[in-house]
């Protein structure tokens, strides 16, 4: 596994953990189980921890050559996937409130930065998935 794969795997795991916890908290809040709003920071922090773990734990690959033409192609495709995901996210987030709340409804402006954070997570997740798909999910690489 190279550095990009390790980072991607960490990002996917932490993002899914954060998402899972977030869904649990939303369900608990829907059933009035006394979940304070501040508790929603926890899944965000967990989801975001992937980036911090990646920066601190995964140092650059050893060896003379750590990045070549294939890595360049994988990176380009992953960036494209991330951009595409954000594009879809923006489209979805532009129409979803109208569909759910109706044309006459209003939403608090505090949702704007939340949507921005969501776009960041969406980009990172799609990029990580694209990296893992292109490099292959398996740790074993069949090398000698």
């Amino acid at each position: 596994m190279n550095r990009a794969q390790k980072i991607s795997l960490t990002m996917v795991i932490t993002f899914l953990l954060g998402l899972f916890l977030g869904i649990i908290l939303i369900v608990m809040r829907l059933f009035d189980l006394g979940v304070p709003k501040i508790a929603f920071l926890l899944p965000v922090c967990i989801a975001g921890s992937g980036g911090i773990i990646s920066i601190t734990c995964f140092k650059k690959d050893k060896g003379a050559i750590a990045f070549d033409e294939r890595d360049k192609l994988v990176e380009k495709n992953a960036n494209l996937a991330g951009f595409g995901a954000v594009y879809l996210y923006v489209i979805l987030m532009s129409f979803l409130p109208i569909v759910i709340l109706g044309g006459e409804a209003s939403i608090p402006v505090t949702w704007c930065p939340v949507l921005l954070i969501g776009a960041g997570f969406c980009q990172a997740f799609a990029q990580s998935i694209a990296y893992l798909i292109q490099y292959g999910w398996r740790v074993k690489d069949g090398g000698e």
């Binding site: 003379a64 750590a66 070549d68 033409e69 294939r70 890595d71 292109q134 690489d141 090398g143 000698e144």
Partner: protein
């Protein structure tokens, strides 16, 4: 990455050239070992300069290392 229409004899050539390891070949042509693995497995089609470098590493022509197995146009 998508499968390509290239077949190659890198594995055989490595063994014919003093049982060269994937890492040794990778260092010789200036790529990572993972890329050599992907090329050998037919999961990645190398660029033309890389194909030439691989062929040169074995001292043979590109056609000896790679063969196009896709449909003729």
């Amino acid at each position: 990455m998508a499968e390509n229409n290239l077949s190659n004899k890198i594995r055989r050539l490595r063994f014919e050239n003093g049982e060269m390891t994937q890492q040794q070949l990778a260092d010789k042509v200036g790529v990572t070992r993972q890329t050599i693995i992907a090329i050998e497995a037919g999961k990645y089609a190398p660029s033309l300069p890389l194909a030439f470098r691989i062929a040169r590493a074995f001292g043979v022509s590109v056609e000896t290392v790679f063969e196009y197995v896709g449909k003729q146009s």
